[in-house]
Symmetry: C2
Subunit: 347 residues, 2 copies
């Protein structure tokens, strides 16, 4: 049941195609009404900026792998991407971020209050897109798709709460296992697990428990997030689209930072404890440079990169259980090609 | 078709009854899972505090008026109240408020980021409650209920955006008509129009356009909001539950403030223009006292109170068109008794 594996280039080309069509559909789902300058202009901002479209692409390919067409999954893929955009707006408020997809964040341009409100509107519009499509489905499938969407949203908010809680309470002693549990909630449910599961469900048009997609999605999503955190340390700002070292200013508990916390001793340990204990506004450029130096010294970047390779190996194993018997092995192979893509991407 | 009108006491007693049962149902809809201290404890905070329950009570009474039972409307009433609680959390972030229902706001206790996230979870849970009930309904009714819910949420966010936009851009020249248009979006759709419409829909179990409820809901909701704004100026903090004069610190465009802006001349006008142009943090207690003094001097409170009485008169007229032919005139009369209740309430 093997076919020639698609190249990284093929994955990127498909992502670009989906990004464009999903972007058009998202913008089409935003009302033309008033107030334009205080609401709908803001609602359109992030959906207008080209994103990677990983989530909708996974959803569409998983649908194809299980015998469906692009059209069977497309509206749900659009709803997922709209919810993702809503989360980005609210994350940028919570994190005080300045750059998103290479341009100023919504809160940087319009303040927190209007941005919060625009993020709420994106949540409502995502639900609207999802529900309108659910009406066209068999009742049982529709219920399962809607339930999965709610579950996914709650898992994501649970993960976000845990990460914010760690930062707020200056939690220091974390392990890679804590990190993986965080990433499972915060990232994997909505980035990989849900798109894959719901895609397979729409493709096969039969209710099922889709348990196998949880493992594959978890490992694939963890590889994605570890790479994302690494790009924040080593990426090129022009390509990456966010502030380099922004995560260090936020003291985000990335795998590299968790590794560093476990390695440092003596004065360095006191310094890191101090760095974690102060507010973001008190973290100077000099302090960040010193943390960055310690990360290199302790080999924390290599640790995270090696860890990601291990997780990617697990993803390849799990892929077989989830898609080995899927009717369309071309699309199944395409999903497999996402594993090396997640490890190597530079944006 | 007239029956003895219920007293204000009967309205308050029914509100207390509904408040208690809705509160229990909201808390029952919140998962018991983790992270408790960073998410679900926050999600439970506002639903645990006794609220007025105006929205669910209107929904249930409108359902009864059109021949339904409490149970026909109850889950939808709960979903509306949960969305209301989500909006309260996000409003308290946007406004920097300190008190809600007599206790510290969520952002005052847990910071903005965790509160924003908890508000998002309340939106998801409200949708979950609504969808689960929609499954038990006839398809056509279910679709209409869900569509009305989305529309209601968008109208509210549009109104919120306009109000925040006015404040952000220091808009000064507003008329009572601008205020009414704001209130229609920001308050009436989700406080009165939607609960009444969807209640009638669930009671009659027949799709219909429910146009007559828009007028009654609009006038009833406007009377509610004008009274709410007045209580912020003249209420007793222990009963009212929010900071007295909090709206003046935010320079919220209430009917009294809009009236004042139209009345002041000379130095007073310059002073008010200055007051509107500075940030909230620059508004001193002395400045607020002076604004409050001008409000008295210009009769702006009397103006708003008189305006509310006019609107209440219109509400009584519109009630006849909306509920004059409703099968259960006892509940129809109950809805009519809300008009004087909205004008006279002290909390």
């Amino acid at each position: 049941m093997t076919t020639t594996a698609p190249t990284g280039e093929a994955v990127e080309s498909e992502l670009r195609r989906v990004s464009q069509t999903v972007r058009r559909a998202m913008l089409g789902a935003v009302p033309d009404g008033e107030p334009h300058r205080w609401l709908y202009q803001l609602v359109r901002a992030y959906p207008s900026r080209p994103g990677k479209a990983i989530r909708p692409t996974l959803c569409i390919q998983s649908c194809r792998a299980y015998g469906g067409s692009d059209a069977d999954a497309f509206p749900v893929a659009v709803a997922i991407e709209m919810l993702h955009n809503a989360f980005l707006v609210h994350d940028d408020i919570a994190d005080g971020s300045e750059l998103r997809r290479g341009r100023p964040t919504l809160p940087a341009d319009h303040g927190q209050a209007l941005s919060l409100n625009a993020g709420d509107a994106l949540v409502v519009l995502a639900n609207q897109v999802l529900r309108r499509h659910a009406r066209t489905l068999d009742d049982e499938i529709a219920d399962q798709v809607l339930d999965e969407f709610d579950t996914m949203a709650l898992r994501t908010l649970e993960g976000q709460a845990t990460e914010l809680g760690w930062r707020r309470e200056r939690v220091v002693d974390l392990t890679p296992e804590d990190y993986l549990d965080l990433v499972l909630h915060k990232t994997c449910w909505y980035t990989t697990i849900h798109p894959l599961r719901v895609g397979a469900l729409l493709g096969s048009a039969e209710p099922s428990d889709m348990e196998a997609m949880v493992s594959f999605g978890f490992y694939l999503g963890a590889a994605f997030q570890i790479r994302d955190d690494l790009l924040n340390l080593i990426g090129a700002e022009g390509i990456y689209g966010k502030e380099i070292n922004g995560d260090l200013y936020e003291a985000k508990r990335s795998l590299a930072l968790i590794h560093l916390c476990g390695q440092v001793r003596g004065d360095d340990r006191d310094f890191i404890a101090h760095y974690l204990s102060v507010d973001r506004s008190e973290r100077t450029a000099q302090m960040i440079d010193e943390v960055r130096r310690l990360i290199d010294e302790c080999g924390s970047i290599d640790f995270a990169a090696d860890f990601a390779r291990g997780i990617a190996g697990a993803a390849l194993q799990a892929h077989e259980a989830a898609y080995g018997d899927a009717p369309d092995q071309r699309s199944a192979g395409f999903l497999k090609a996402f594993v090396p893509y997640m490890l190597g991407r530079s944006a």
